[in-house]
Subunit: 190 residues, 2 copies
DNA sequence: GTCTATATACCGATAGAC
DNA sequence: GTCTATCGGTATATAGAC
């Protein structure tokens, strides 16, 4: 970090400012895309939130679409064991949603790229979960459980349904865990 | 309706053509809004699908927003008894989605008016369901069940998750009904 | 009543000054 | 490296011809 000979600019190293701007733009993009979705968000909105000039946004990321792609990248989640990751996911969903996830979900119904990203993400989760529970209809039961978590996420963080939003994190996690655990049990086929 | 003196146009009654155009425009609007959402849909798209001139669309409905409002109105569902309506909803969601519901859900994450409409609709369903099941956490359990159905709807008809889309209507309804029935049961509080 | 032409505005993106 | 100015395109919406 202090690899340079002489600091011509006293405090901020010349290229570090650029990197800082780039990061601020990305944060601002996640926030704006997460609030109103890809289409309603303008490059000018993002620039204003980041405190930079609109042209800088495109200078750094090339296009609005490329910036969106960068903004919705999820941190590579570990493959994870099996069914106990259900509790993790549920906890994450009950509390605040990470900015990149929020941006991704906000546009999943209207932007094909976001739709694909969510599909891939959830298909993978379903596969892992199905492998962990076994029994008849394992894939379908796992898919229903994962879809239910998606529905809860939308209900709580985007639609703000009354009884989902007003519940405490603890209550929601407790009751939802019970419900999903029950839902994951194999059923008699009579 | 036949208050006028003489039919100057022989076959099509003068105002009947206008009503027919209006209905065709509304159908086309539901289709287009349901496919790509409110913002990505242009008045020109709707006019093209309806086979009319773009300016006619605004002549009839005043604005794109007013047309959207008309397009997402749900047929007033009866209050309905209680828990057995769960099966109805599930069946509807497993098969095809009505055009106005599809248009509504497609934009529920990006258009405030659609978000509010879905919230009101689901809050009402939750209230009815909660009243029918009783027990501890009735509202929360009902909210989780309704949110799960929403998640399944999104997964099947919008994201097309692998294991949800590939399942037959019968399998999906059977397993989901089992899962939701289990989820709605009161749990021991130990 | 339906279509042509256009007003008005805002968007994404680019070029060039500093 | 950052900002100013602007281009080109497209949208909604309106006014007027037929």
């Amino acid at each position: 970090m202090r690899n340079d000979t002489v600091a011509s600019t006293p405090t901020t190293t010349r290229a570090a400012r650029r990197a800082a701007s780039q990061a601020r733009i990305l944060d601002a993009a996640r926030e704006e895309f997460g609030r109103r979705g890809f289409e309603a968000t303008t490059v000018r909105d993002i620039a204003h939130r980041a405190g930079v000039d609109p042209s800088l946004v495109l200078q750094h990321y090339g296009s609005k679409s490329a910036l969106f792609t960068a903004a919705i990248q999820l941190p590579a989640g570990e493959p994870q064991e099996a069914a106990d990751h259900l509790a993790d996911v549920l906890n994450v969903r009950a509390a605040a949603l990470p900015p990149e996830m929020r941006a991704l979900v906000r546009s999943m119904l209207t932007v094909p790229e976001a739709s694909e990203a969510v599909r891939r993400h959830l298909d993978e989760r379903i596969g892992n979960l199905a492998a962990g529970i076994g029994g008849p209809d394992a894939e379908l039961r796992a898919a229903i459980a994962v879809s239910s978590i998606l529905g809860l996420t939308v209900a709580r963080h985007f639609l703000q349904l009354r009884d989902v939003s007003s519940a405490s994190d603890d209550d929601l996690v407790r009751v939802a865990t019970q419900a999903l655990t029950a839902a994951l049990q194999p059923q008699r086929s009579d």
